[in-house]
Symmetry: D2
Subunit: 288 residues, 4 copies
């Protein structure tokens, strides 16, 4: 949770576990005058796999920004069969919001955006209904109404994908977007679409989880943010929270209490994404 | 947490504990054709004091609305030395917001208001700074800029009190309002001013609680909503929540995490207030 | 959560919702000199069903203990088509423990029993393994070793049922008992067998839930206490708790953390059972 | 939370932050054939101080166990002005328990000890009352009755210190021990005495925190484990948890609910201590 600075680089790495990885990377950074701000590693022992997030200051770093990727690959990455992502804290990620009719997640996101809590750009909001256009207008964010029917789905998703590419979107947030994305859409944005599901997954997959929770008589409800994959509600989980309920809570009460969880869990996932703190591997997340 | 209907009456009662109170009240309602929707009682045994909240349907109730108070006093209330409040679910309470510069609580409240989650009127927002006027404008709520200095405090508070009375305000919410209300102000609105304090009271009373929490090295932080009394941060507590923190969290992280608690805790207190679920007695609350 | 006294009666009631139930019961108690200590009611509005728990002092109550059931039936119960249970706080419930090899829930229960936290008798412990006999011995509680194989299951369960009847057991607690009870067994003790399942049901039903949770990559784990019914892990839920986990937690860590939840959740359910605070209706619980 | 192996070394380090520390240490381990299992670091940015915990396998490590301290000091530690502790996972820490009359923490600890959840030795239990001797006997742990009065305190504490030294105790756990240790005692065991305080510190310091919590009308209660220092209840906090309470909870209920927190929080602190996961610096803890 340490505060990131404005001129840093962040590497997210994973590879088969081997001796000497930490030494190799910390030596690479030290020799090239990169002051390490934060380094975290994790070894998944049952599958012998290594994960790391390292952040260092670029100010005195001798390798120029645009060559870091190349140098790192040659000197370290290829040797250890690493897969990695390189991010720069100075560059604000570009996030698109997909919405339907509900406002609680949208306002929560926009408040954080406007107040400067997050370093992010929101170049556009896409809605399959027109209801939330007025809110987008109030915040001066372009709103695109892309209604979707069974018949028009493929064409409309193509339009959405075009919009996202045109605006160089880094990741998409489904802020209680009530449409299932097609496999083709998901394949375009692997681990780049974050959804909020209104239950503690894997319980109550699919539609109307609060109704199902009420029927089952659970004493806790939850919310789950996860990356969207081809399998509905089965993608890698980023954040989950729960809260207590009782027999006194009607379905309407569950929905009201659940909204508090939903917006908190979704915004926490977005924050982690913006900090480049999440690595995905085999349908699970490492959240540094 | 049961859903309240549109045409109900709610009695909040307390009195010295005696035999027969529940029987007397339920008999009174039954005889006059009032269908009880919800009845909750509590006896504080160490002080032998009785508390009750009862809600009933008015549709077939034989006593007219405007005479309930009188009949109840004569037939029941006086006999048992009761203190009580009578509310009608059909009448939306009128809430005033006091703000300074921070937006997280304000947006959280306005989203709930706009989406119809709450049955409430917000006739005005008062700010000691002008910063949040733009938000009030966006939501079409009149904003009054009432700056306060040591020299102008008495006069400006008088102006605020006049505004609140003019708009027939039922209760005031301090949504991270960074001014301490004078005793005179508080006396005008007993148990009608709800504040959010950014710590788990009674820990870290006063200014900069996140800084103090960081210095002390706590592993949890919290937020507390309470009624404002003459003693700073000492009023009856309505809602408290906590969340985990670690050595990795800087003061900035505590502030960010704390905001999630603050808005949730404050909005929960407002919800309880709107449902007429809170009774105050000797600096503690009964939250039905 | 109010403290119950030593000479009180408790009625747990449910029936179709009708006008006048609260008035009828409170009048019945008042007229017969029964001082009400605690009264809680709940109406499940979607099915129009009424639930109540009422506790009153017996000291001056004019109806003798052994006739209360009869009088209540005649004067109130039959009229409103009520189902009810009558309990006396002075009588300690008799609880049997079923165990296998794990000790965490057993010790937690025995510590509360020995320290006087609970008013309960534990006349016997039944184990399908002999491992925990030494602990039972230490606490001077008779231990019955009843090993179970597929072939012997029916006969051994018959033996268990005989033991439970012989010792006039009021309810059974499965303290991480690793055998599935047959339908016949369950039918003998409806809503009288409390189990602890090591997941937040309905997620991860069945065997090895921590392994499944680890595979799914959840960020919370949980535990659930519930009444045992013919459907495995599908009975009415009494208590649930969850705790946070992360990618750093191995399966072994989940098991360790989960044990904390299991013993707390199971002991909380036992406490509620001992206080006669739980009513079951259509596979859900009302926990007063 | 990673599982530690049986033949590993653990270094807990802190020093002024400087470039190259991670590189130096990981290089030292790599060159000497020490396979790193876990490495975590933290920089406290406002005071520019560096903290690290690193664990590596000893199997192929070329420096013999008994010389690691010397080599590390010469090659790394002195150069960076480090303070460090070296631990070996193969060696079970020796823990003494101090108790008075309450059993909940004691049983919780002993259950974990007996079941093998913890790798620890418990050579003795010291009680200022004799009440818990029977439990110690049951678990075959020597019990020393050391009653303390104002007059005998100095002498009796000297006896305790002698016992602890004789049994080569690594750390002391006050399992609801109702005596305040003298400064002299504390000075003998810096950061080696773990206490459980039954409130969310810094709220409700001192005696009878549940009574104070009830009086204040809080909606959460908590428990705090911390290292004992000369200032009562002011030492570095290791673990804190909270739980919700309501107006229905009497002081007796708070005590009952609080016990659940106390034993969980204390046992979690002991676990972290046993894993050598806690570093203390300037009255705060780094919990890796």
């Amino acid at each position: 949770m340490s505060t990131t600075k404005n001129n840093t680089a962040i590497l997210l790495i994973h590879c088969p576990d081997q001796k000497g990885i930490v030494a190799a990377i910390s030596d690479f950074l030290l020799k090239n005058n990169g002051n390490v701000l934060d380094i975290e590693q994790h070894v998944e022992k049952d599958i012998n796999h290594f994960f790391m997030r390292v952040e260092w200051e670029l100010t005195d770093f001798v390798i120029p920004r645009e060559k870091i990727e190349d140098y790192f690959a040659t000197l370290i990455g290829n040797k250890y069969q690493m897969q990695w992502q390189l991010h720069f804290s100075g560059k604000k990620p570009r996030m698109a919001l997909f919405v339907s009719k509900m406002t609680h997640c949208l306002y929560d996101i926009l408040q954080r955006y406007m107040s400067g809590e997050w370093a992010v750009e929101i170049p556009l909001i896409i809605g399959n209904h027109e209801n939330l256009k007025a809110i987008a207008d109030r915040f001066d964010i372009p709103f695109h109404h892309v209604p979707i029917t069974k018949a028009t789905k493929a064409a409309q998703e193509a339009k959405e994908i075009a919009l996202l590419k045109e605006h160089q979107i880094d990741f998409v947030v489904l802020a209680r977007y009530m449409q299932i994305l097609s496999d083709d859409f998901v394949r375009e944005f692997p681990n780049q679409v974050i959804n909020i599901h209104h239950s503690f997954l894997p319980a109550f997959i699919g539609a109307r989880p609060y109704h199902a929770a009420h029927r089952r008589g659970v004493k806790i409800i939850g919310a789950t943010s996860h990356y969207v994959t081809a399998d509905l509600d089965e993608g890698p989980i980023i954040v989950q929270h729960t809260t207590s309920v009782s027999h006194k809570d009607s379905i309407k009460d569950l929905i009201r209490k659940g909204k508090n969880l939903e917006k908190m869990v979704l915004s926490e996932a977005i924050y982690l994404q913006l900090q480049h703190k999440v690595l995905t591997y085999k349908n699970r997340t490492i959240v540094f």
